[in-house]
């Protein structure tokens, strides 16, 4: 059922996800270059306007495609709708010119290839760190064996890439967390994590778009609205976008919250 993609990457494949969706898998690791390739393939398939395709989205190293199998049914053909659409997608990816799609690119180059054109501008996210805003800042500092201020310096020093959205509307998983700040999840998840909380879960970092239960370590909060279905682009963060954090004081947090 799972089929190799037929390019030069051994671990690329297409596999069914139930009878109305499939996954294109590029790899099984959290890795910036695999993610760039997933985003490029997601854009390629999204722009291809394949018949019956209702949704295309990238995860860390895979692309999920939802399709109406009625559009791929052909009584005269012995192939199943899945086999037919999987063939078409494999062919599209093989024949795509962009190196970020074909997988032959050297890993690690920034945002190249046709699939990543038209990304929004890098975003700066103001964060109020510690105390009432990030209850676990001390925990992260202790785990790293550094001062809480050093956690803030390191967290604001990095450039992050939005790898994917998932879990909840507007929840973005970011790549690029300083390895020093990797901190295991809390043993007991909180029942209420405030909206805008900037959090660390293992090697991952993200921002809670609204009040939710959650087990990640909370280091700060942003007043920015991460998700609003009334906006033309409902999610503030877009896959592929680059993000930096800026430290601010509680006064500015309150001011920005009111504006």
């Amino acid at each position: 059922m799972t089929r190799p993609l037929g390019d030069d990457r051994q671990d690329s494949s297409i596999e069914p996800l139930g009878d109305g969706a499939l996954l294109v898998r590029i790899g099984e690791r959290i890795d910036a270059s695999l993610n760039r390739r997933a985003l490029a393939i997601s854009n390629l398939l999204g722009n291809a306007k394949l018949a019956g395709v209702t949704d295309v989205s990238a995860a860390y190293a895979s692309v999920c495609v939802h399709y109406d199998l009625g559009a791929w049914a052909d009584p005269a053909n012995v192939q199943s709708p899945y086999e037919r659409i999987a063939d078409s997608i494999a062919e599209l990816i093989r024949s795509a010119k962009g190196e970020s799609v074909s997988g032959s690119a050297q890993a690690g180059r920034e945002g190249e290839g046709p699939g990543l054109a038209g990304l929004p501008e890098p975003l700066e996210i103001p964060v109020c760190y510690g105390a009432d805003y990030g209850a676990d800042l001390e925990t992260v500092a202790e785990h790293a064996g550094i001062d809480p201020n050093e956690v803030i310096v390191r967290h604001t020093g990095g450039t992050y890439q939005v790898a994917m959205l998932g879990f909840m509307p507007g929840f973005a998983y970011l790549l690029g967390l300083d390895p020093m700040l990797h901190t295991p999840r809390r043993a007991t998840p909180r029942t209420h994590v405030p909206a805008g909380s900037v959090a660390i879960g293992g090697a991952q970092t993200g921002i809670y778009p609204r009040e939710l239960p959650g087990g990640w370590q909370l280091i700060g909060r942003t007043p920015l609205e991460l998700f609003n279905p009334a906006r033309a682009q409902p999610a503030l963060l877009v896959p592929g976008q680059s993000v930096r954090f800026r430290a601010m004081d509680p006064d500015e947090f309150v001011r920005l919250s009111l504006s």
């Binding site: 069914p16 996800l17 009878d19 959290i30 895979s62 999920c64 409902p234």
Partner: protein, 340 residues
């Protein structure tokens, strides 16, 4: 023109066929748990296939209609009443203005749909009128119905409506005690579309990580009886039964999941994702419920039994297409009944 909520019922929400094309924003499809019952309820009142209806869960709402309207109930077998008279399911009902409807409790099945001719006139959120209760997204700010809500009803073209009233004359139909309800003489036979018997197995395909279950668990998935746990909702059903285990633990990264995906968290009790499945998940995927059997599963409630039987992807797709053909034929028949 609207409908007033006198009592909201256990968990009543607006649902349509779901929200498409928003996975990249982390937004799942939501939509009806039993999309087939939803579509039949809409067809019975002459609505388009993608109109929104009320999804009723186990205990339905009490409603008051402001003016004459045409309704239909499909899905779980509700003992719905108006003015003491039973309201039969699976057929169009003409309800007079001012009447009170108690949609009652589900005698069999778990979810029913109340469709009203003209649909509910509510603003779509991200191109859908379905409610993602868990994500707080959709009509009514993403919440379930509450007492006192006014639910606006759309217009279906006045001529249409008048003609429909004409097609349901009092002398050819069952009449309510106070003359407030007129039910069509014909109805849809629910048996091909509604299966509340928990003894009937649910078809699943093997998931990507099925082969990584230990030998005992591979057998147990198909030979054991599971029970739907109390902590089950529109997001997912927690299964109680024999603990399932992988040969060796897997560290997975998040990938796409869909309604029907059966995940195995470390505790060994599987979770079947339902209509409000998140867009991504990081647990091993041991199975996938065939789309044709999603409605069957949606009609089970906490405490009900559940058995799985294996189906190939090709067979699942072919049965899905077959059911779509049968459904279109049914819609055609209903359409002709509404016209004649």
């Amino acid at each position: 023109m609207s409908m007033r909520v006198l009592a909201p019922g256990l968990l009543t929400s607006f649902q349509d066929r779901g929200r498409r094309g928003q996975a990249a924003n982390g937004v799942g499809t939501a939509g009806a748990m039993d999309p087939i019952a939803l579509r039949i309820a809409n067809a019975l009142v002459g609505n388009p296939d993608d109109a929104a209806a009320l999804e009723i869960t186990l205990r339905g709402p009490r409603l008051q209609v402001q003016r004459d309207c045409v309704l239909a109930l499909a899905g779980a077998d509700l003992d719905a009443r108006s003015g003491g008279e039973p309201l039969p399911n699976w057929r169009p009902l003409l309800v007079r203005g001012g009447s009170e409807i108690d949609t009652g409790i589900a005698r069999a099945g778990a979810r029913a749909y109340l469709a009203v001719r003209g649909g509910f006139d509510i603003v779509p959120v991200l191109a859908s009128r379905s409610t993602d209760v868990n994500a707080h997204l959709g009509p009514l700010g993403g919440r379930v119905l509450a007492g006192g809500d006014e639910l606006p009803i759309g217009t279906s073209g006045r001529d249409d409506f008048e003609r429909m009233l004409g097609k349901l004359p009092p002398n050819s139909a069952r009449r309510g005690a106070k003359g407030s309800i007129v039910a069509a003489r014909w109805s849809v036979d629910p048996s091909p579309w509604f299966e509340p018997d928990p003894a009937v197995p649910v078809c699943v395909q093997r998931g990507r990580h099925f082969g990584q279950l230990d030998e005992h668990s591979q057998t147990a998935l198909f030979d054991s009886e599971f029970r739907i746990g109390v902590q089950s909702n529109r997001v997912g059903y927690r299964l109680e039964g024999p603990a399932l285990a992988l040969r060796t633990p897997l560290e997975l990264i998040s990938e796409g999941v869909v309604p029907g995906t059966v995940q195995l968290p470390p505790g060994g009790q599987a979770i079947v994702l339902m209509a409000e499945a998140p867009t991504t998940g990081g647990y091993p995927r041991i199975a996938q419920v065939a789309e044709v059997d999603r409605s069957r599963l949606a009609q089970r409630k906490p405490g009900d039994r559940l058995r799985f039987v294996e189906i190939s992807l090709a067979e699942a797709q072919s049965r899905y297409l077959e059911r779509e053909r049968a459904l279109r034929a049914l819609f055609q028949t209903i359409h002709e009944h509404l016209r004649h």
